[in-house]
Symmetry: C2
Subunit: 338 residues, 2 copies
């Protein structure tokens, strides 16, 4: 079946691009001398996690315990401040798999008796993570099984990475002086991946988006259009209002996350179109002159702004090669917010 | 069970508020002399659709055929430009239920042979809908079973409603002159509901949000906090970064739709807190001085900015009265984008 014959809106994964992306990041990690522990919240699909593990990933990263419960990987990092109420499920997971959890407070660390922990260090993003080397030592002392540290560089620039490197050095030295060896130094993120060598203490990284890339990756020149493995097939449903058309996909298909730094909700393949407004089922599209006038019924491929949040809206994703459909995968970890 | 004992993040519906909201809108529609055809995309839950029908709703409104397939109501309006590929499913639905579909183009109208149609008129929102009385007549002529017209006032102000009234008069007169009687004039939307008498030709309205209301409704003074029937229970997971706390709910729990005109992602009950940034699993919260400093493990109720998009992210919603949990409902029409 031709992918263009799918009823819309529909998510489609190009397997050639997916496999290239997985192989390339794995090769880069080997070259940098770090392990790869992909964040599987991007795809939420067991079959793709398996492709990553088969390619050499040492395990998986998840944000929520519910994701780990349905995705494979013998070695699991729950890269999220763990609440006490989740402990029974973490202990159940740890019976059959090596489980590590992140922690950034003494109170939570005390709850994690018998569980491997990584202390989160805030390297300048300001989301979670201890602020100082002293706090890192305090939290490490409250951990029964300290394994190392964990940071999230997000979209930090080169100067930000250099400052992060200094901070991580200071933390590792203070921990060492207090008798704690950081065996694991876990970095992360697709936008920061290429800057991994700037923090040479790093032992593993946790990028997620690189399996698919998205319109935000494209705008940041992290990839080419051909690397965008996840695309949404949509159909023009109305051209009634002059100067625009409406596609059958809005915030229930793409999520309301805008392309980082750009303000559209997706990249239109082969069209000079932008989409700056959405309702749940309506994407308001502004076509540009070089393209022919949109027709009702016309199908269009869109690379979503944020692939992770987009996949989370769908139960099923089709896949194939060369524009053909070979099958579909269930998005098994969709909606696992607990 | 106390709702505060739910594992978080969790959606909870206060049944007292829900029932009051349903009864009040039904009573208002009676007073205005219009029928109520609620847009069930807000809740996506069969049990709530049944409460609305039992209270006197004449049928339901959906955006996508997939919603109608799992939600009750003998009389269904698919208030969305229908694509040819959906026709077999619409015809199957029409075997057991009265089905009407919206149309705003001659091409689509020709496809809808044998199906009741409402021609959509754009009353100034600029999303979908024919622009002129002449176009309305052209589309009506292409329909085999013209039943009336349909408009979406969204957040139009009073002057916008007055202009819409003039346009609808003109369209109805032109249709009548061409031999088409608009038996149904379908209006809509919760923010516009109170302005229904400004368009006296209206025979029915299609509000959705009023069953729950949300932080956008609250900011627009459409309701009081006590009317907000849908709330999200969240927990503070980190206070490591000075001046903020992080809750265990981000764009996978709330959707990235901001409160209309305000810019936060939710209304915190009993707190002076705002949330202007989210990642998928992290809500960045700025607490304000009158409240005590947030503690890790503290649970907080949040009224989401956009209830419809929020419900669409969850498989299950708990319900009860007086802060107790009486049971849970499956969000049966979640993710029905086709």
């Amino acid at each position: 079946m031709d992918a263009l014959d799918l009823d819309t809106p529909a998510l489609y994964i190009d397997l050639d691009a997916l496999e290239r992306n997985i192989a390339r990041m794995q090769a880069q990690c080997r070259a940098w001398g770090v392990a790869l522990r992909p964040h599987v919240k991007t795809h939420k699909i067991p079959e793709i996690a398996k492709l990553q593990l088969d390619a050499g990933a040492i395990g998986i990263t998840v944000a929520k315990v519910g994701e780990a419960e349905v995705l494979p990987g013998d070695d699991v990092l729950v890269a999220y401040p763990l609440l006490k109420s989740k402990l029974p499920r973490v202990r159940a997971l740890a019976k059959n798999r090596r489980v590590k959890v992140a922690v950034d407070s003494v109170d939570v660390a005390r709850d994690l008796e018998g569980i491997d922990t990584l202390v989160e260090i805030d390297v300048g993003v300001g989301r979670t993570g201890v602020q100082s080397a002293e706090q890192a030592v305090q939290v490490a002392k409250a951990c029964s099984d300290f394994q190392g540290i964990f940071y999230w560089p997000s979209w930090l620039d080169e100067a930000g990475f250099q400052a992060a490197c200094v901070k991580i050095d200071t933390v590792i030295a203070a921990l060492s002086a207090a008798g704690f060896e950081a065996k694991i130094v876990s970095g992360g993120s697709t936008p920061g991946a290429a800057k991994t060598p700037l923090i040479p203490q790093t032992t593993e990284i946790r990028p997620g988006t690189y399996v698919f890339y998205d319109a935000s990756s494209l705008a940041a020149q992290l990839c080419d259009e051909a690397d965008c493995a996840l695309r949404v097939l949509t159909t023009v449903v109305s051209t009634a209002v002059p100067g625009q058309c409406v596609i059958d996909a809005g915030s229930k298909t793409f999520s309301s996350d805008q392309t980082v730094g750009v303000g559209t909700f997706g990249h239109f393949v082969g069209r000079h179109w932008t989409m700056r407004k959405m309702n749940e089922e309506h994407g308001y599209v502004e076509p540009s002159p070089p393209d022919p006038r949109p027709r009702v019924g016309e199908k269009v491929w869109v690379v979503p702004s944020h692939c992770c949040a987009t996949v989370n809206l769908h139960d099923e994703v089709w896949y194939g090669r060369g524009g053909r459909v070979e099958g579909s995968w269930k998005v098994a970890a969709r909606g696992k917010v607990r």
